[in-house]
Each structure stands twice: as structure tokens, then as C-alpha cells.
């Protein structure tokens, strides 16, 4: 019995030295969302594409994701600890739930492993935790980009459709949109929908339509959810405002890309998840292998704008899994 244990231990030791010998590049662990999540599959693709360079230099990228999103903060903190235990050379992780995850990030710092906060948390989280950098988008700036885009195109009387009053990120989008339009010399309002409209695209369409009929000067509309954007286009058409009231929205899916291609929607604001995975991994790989650094702190991957000038490339990217 004892012999077997000794043998197993010896074998394990051999195996571990073998991996160490093989992988003299950077072993980078990336904590992210589930691979079947439409957004996270794109982030993962970015991390893997950057991982091609990592592999070429003898390292590897390991994607760690929770089984489900039921207990997200705690599960993600556990994944960060797993990465420490597996002797990561560098770690990339989002700060989804600071209360649950900050202790895990502090453990990374204590272990002396370089890390980057990406996707969620902002530069504030990176500063607080001592991370190298933050790679991601800021909701507020996404709204600003939408307001700026429409106002610069001459549509300066705006309204932000808020179908989830009270949700922090939606409030940020709407605040940003208003500020973006005001900065360009326009004005903006928020249209909050009542609880009876929740999850009902027809209610969104009819609310926007009624609002446009009652506020005939409004010519710039901002959508904060994918299905809302589809409803708003109908609302604009039924109000007889097609071509006069212009729509921009946060995020996109196939239906929204089709609307942009057809000209019924002017633009979509994208946080460009591919860039988040790609740059976080690239920066850490350069640092671990060659001591390279990026002095720019807070690497913003968004807002990117999708409009009729880049709709073809975006549609190709959506097909290829990078957008």
C-alpha cells in the first residue's frame, strides 16, 4: 500500500516537473463567462486568438468558467483561487461582485502574480486591488457615444427609452446618452416604461409611438436593450416618423444588424468583447515573458460604433464569432 502511494507521488512529481519543463512561456488563466453565452464566447475567442502567440512562445491560455450563473461572485472567486493553486504566471478576471471577489484578487496580489481586471469593475477596481490595468468598457461612456453620434448627425432632441427603471447599468446608459447630446448642444429626456410593459415588445413600440406623437420635435432615440430596439423601430414607423426620428442602441444581435443594414436604425454601440479577451492576454504575455508594459492605464475596448460604414465587416465578424 505504502509503495503504491510512493509510486503515485513520484509519478505526480515527475509529471509536474515535465509540465514545468515544457511550459517555459507564460501560463495565463482567464476567468470568464460560460462558453455558450453569446457575449462570452466572443471574449473567449479574443483570448484564444491572443493565446496563439502565447503558445508559440511556449506558454498557454486556460479559460476558467463557472458551470452556471446562479452563484456568480462566489464561483468566480473560487476560479481565481484555483488559478493561484495551479501556479498561474498571470491571471485575467472580471470583478463582477466586489464583495465576494475582492478577497480572491487580494490573494492573487499576495501570491505576487501579475493580473488584469477586465470586463467589469472599471479602473477603480484595478487601482483598489493593485492590478496592472483594467481592460473593458464603461456603461456611461457607451451612452455618451450614442448621444454624441446622433447629435453630430444633426439629431439634437433626444429621448432614452428605459424599460427597466432602477437597473444601475441602464440608468448609466441613459445618463450618458443625455450628457452626450447636451454636450453637442442638444437636449434629452428619459422615457421610463411602467411595470406593465416589462418583457412586452409591443408595449415598448406603442409607448415610443405615443411619446413621439406627443413630442413631435424628438428626433434622436436611444435603446438600452436588444428587443427594445426592434420595438422602437416599429413605434417610429407607426408614428409616421420613419427617416425623421433616428435610433441608436446599446449592443446588437442579428435582428439589429439587419435593421442597421436596412437603414431603420442608425447605429449600435458595442463594448467589443473580443478586444477585452485579446488585449488582456496580450499585455500579460508580454509582461511575463519580456517585462513589457503598457503605460496607458484603463484600456477602453468600447464604445465601438456599428453603423452603415462598417456594417458589412461587422456582419462578417458576427458570422465568424468575433463580434
Amino acid at each position: 500500500m505504502k509503495k503504491t502511494i510512493k509510486f503515485v507521488l513520484a509519478a505526480a512529481l515527475l509529471a509536474s516537473t515535465a509540465t514545468v519543463a515544457l511550459a517555459d512561456g507564460a501560463k495565463i488563466f482567464v476567468v470568464g463567462g460560460k462558453a455558450d453565452d453569446p457575449f462570452w464566447s466572443i471574449v473567449k475567442r479574443g483570448a484564444e486568438d491572443a493565446g496563439k502567440v502565447v503558445s508559440a512562445e511556449g506558454g498557454k491560455v486556460v479559460w476558467l468558467a463557472p458551470q452556471n450563473y446562479d452563484n456568480l461572485g462566489v464561483d468566480a472567486a473560487e476560479l481565481i483561487r484555483q488559478a493561484i493553486d495551479q501556479k498561474a504566471d498571470a491571471i485575467v478576471a472580471p470583478d463582477w461582485a466586489p464583495a465576494a471577489m475582492d478577497p480572491a484578487f487580494q490573494a492573487v496580489k499576495a501570491a505576487g502574480i501579475p493580473f488584469i481586471v477586465y470586463n467589469a469593475g472599471g479602473i477603480q477596481a484595478a487601482d483598489r486591488l493593485g492590478a496592472m490595468n483594467y481592460v473593458g468598457a464603461v456603461d456611461y461612456l457607451g451612452g455618451v457615444a450614442g448621444g454624441d453620434y446622433l447629435a453630430k448627425a444633426g439629431h439634437k432632441s433626444g429621448v432614452c427609452v428605459n424599460s427597466l427603471p432602477g437597473a444601475a447599468n441602464i440608468e448609466d446608459y441613459c445618463k450618458g446618452f443625455g450628457d452626450g447630446i447636451k454636450k453637442a448642444g442638444g437636449k434629452s429626456d428619459v422615457l421610463p416604461l411602467p411595470a406593465t410593459a416589462e418583457g412586452n415588445v409591443t408595449a415598448v413600440a406603442q409607448a415610443v409611438r405615443a411619446y413621439l406623437l406627443q413630442h413631435p420635435d424628438v428626433d434622436a432615440i436611444f435603446a438600452t436593450a436588444n428587443l427594445d430596439a426592434v420595438g422602437i423601430v416599429q413605434g417610429i414607423a407607426q408614428a409616421g416618423k420613419a427617416g425623421k426620428a433616428h435610433l441608436c442602441g446599446i449592443n446588437f444581435d442579428q435582428a439589429i444588424l439587419a435593421q442597421i443594414a436596412a437603414g431603420t436604425q442608425d447605429c449600435a454601440i458595442d463594448q467589443q468583447g473580443y478586444q477585452q479577451g485579446f488585449y488582456a492576454v496580450s499585455i500579460l504575455n508580454g509582461y511575463v515573458n519580456y517585462g513589457l508594459s503598457i503605460p496607458t492605464r484603463e484600456i477602453l475596448t468600447g464604445p465601438g460604433v456599428v453603423d452603415n460604414t462598417n456594417i458589412k465587416a461587422t456582419m462578417a465578424g458576427a458570422k465568424g464569432g468575433t463580434r
Binding site: P38, P192, A203, D253
Partner: protein, 336 residues
Amino acid sequence: MTAGASISSNLGRLARRPEAGSLVGLIVIYIFFAILGGQVFLGAPGWSSWLNMAAEVGTIALPVGLLMIAGELDISVGSVLPASSLTVAILSGRWGLPIYIGIAGGLGVGLAVGLFNGLLVTRTRIPSLILTIGSMFGVMGLTLGFTIWIAGSTGVFIVPDPLTKTLLGSALGGMFQVGIFWWAGFVVVIYGLLHLSTWGNWIFALGGDKESARNAGIPTQKLTIQLYMLSGFAAAFVGVTQVITFGSAQVAAGSSFIFNSIMCVVIGGVILTGGAGSVIGIVLGTMTFAIVNQGIFFSGLDPNFGSIIIGALLLTAVLSNDTFRAMALSYVAKKK
């Protein structure tokens, strides 16, 4: 003297109608928002705006109302709607099958959930409120699970052919959605079923006293199952029209239809304990509900307070219904 007596007897008869309270409520609400909303609300844009809203929730409120008259509830309609939309989008959008197969699949989902609800309600002693909350979560979970599994995303898309779009998802004059006419069709059929057929009498009997209804030889189990299948079908139908209209089906849709449909029925004077109500009342209640919802946006009232106005309306409606019922009862008592 005789003329006065006949007027008061006519008024009495009107007040005894279950929808009397709803009619008064509808008129008051319409005048209120007409004053605030002005010309746009009074014209075709205003009418089509609240009729478009009313058509969808009204189509679901009709069979939900029948169930409530029969003394049961159906919460699962909120999850049948997206389940049906996504079935159509997956079958005909993603897999490219002919649209009639997609629509049949979507409606089939509604009928199947209705059958399941009906069987469990009649075979177990679980109250239908709890049971259909359970089936609602079940259907939600299946919808999310299958959609992610098949499409890898929570949204699925479809570009319907022109004929289907015209029949189920277009708008007359760019304003009045065809759903309004489908709703009118549902109203006529369900009016006939409830008020002109024996089947309708059975529903009232079932809601009045289940035991007596069964003893009188009414096939109560079969009737209950049929009612649930009807509400499943109606919710699925609205799901089909939404996906054809908007071309996009999302997992997180439909939940507001649960309370909205019950509100329309209650504003329409259906008694929550069952046994009384009318199709005309449900239609009036639906219109009132839709006018308030859309009226807020036309009126210049702060939409942040929209939900308060809707809640106050519901309470007022129930109170006025009770008042009218009491008036009607006292009128009958006097006659004795």
C-alpha cells in the same frame, strides 16, 4: 308615473348587467385622458395606439376570463408566450422549415401546456394558482434551456414571408395592427361559446359550485382541460403574432401578460371567486386597461408615476364593481 317606473326599471336592469361598472369606468377613463391627451389621443393615432395594446392582452384575457369565471387561474400564460415565439423562430427562422410548420409548432406548445395544466388541475388537489405558477417556471426553464442548447443565444430571429407578415404582423394604414382584427374574431367566437352555447352555461355552473355542476352531469374535468387548452392556445397565438411582427424572439419576454390579463378580467367585472362575468365586460376592462397604459404617454403626466395610476385604476375598478353589484342585489331585493 308609468314612464318614470319604466326608466328606473331600465336603469336597474342596466345596473344589474355585470359589465355596467366596467362601462362607466371605461367612459370616465376615456374622457379623463381625452381632456389631457387632446387631439392626437382622440384621433386615429391615439385609437390605434391603445387598440394595438388591447388586442394582445385582450386575446389572452378572454380565455383567462373564462377560467376565472370557472373558478380557476392560469399564471403560465406569461411563459407560454415566449415559448411559442421561440418555437416559431427556431423551427422556421433557424432551421428554415416552412412557416406553417413553425406556427403550428408554436400553437402546439400552447395547447400542450394547456393540456398539462388541465390534467394536473383536475387530477390533483393543488390549487390552480400554485400549479400554474409551477408550470410557468417549468416552461420558462425549458424555453431557456432549449434555446441556449439549439441556438447558443437567448434570442432567435426570423424573416417571415410577405403573406404571413400581412396576415399576422402588418399594420393597416401603418397604424392599426392586424392583431386587432384577430382579437375581434376571438371576441365573437368566445362570446358565442360563453353566452349562447350550453358549454358556456357549464362554465358558469362550474364556477358557481363545482360539486353541484358535476352532480348535474356536466363533464367538469373535460371542461376544465378545454379551458386551459384555450388559454394556452391564446397565449401562444399572441406569441406567434409578436414574432411575426418583430422578427425577433427573446427568452425574457411575456411576464407582464400574467398580471395584465388578470387585471383586464377583473376591471371587466369578473368576480375573483368565479361564477359571474361576461365577455363584453372583459372587452371593456381590456380597453380601459389599454387606454390607461397608453394614455399616460399622451397625457403629459410624468411616466415615472405610470405604475401608480395603473394600480389605482385596478383598485377603483374593483371597488366600483362591488358597488354596482351591491346596487344590483339591493334592486332585486326591493322587487321581492
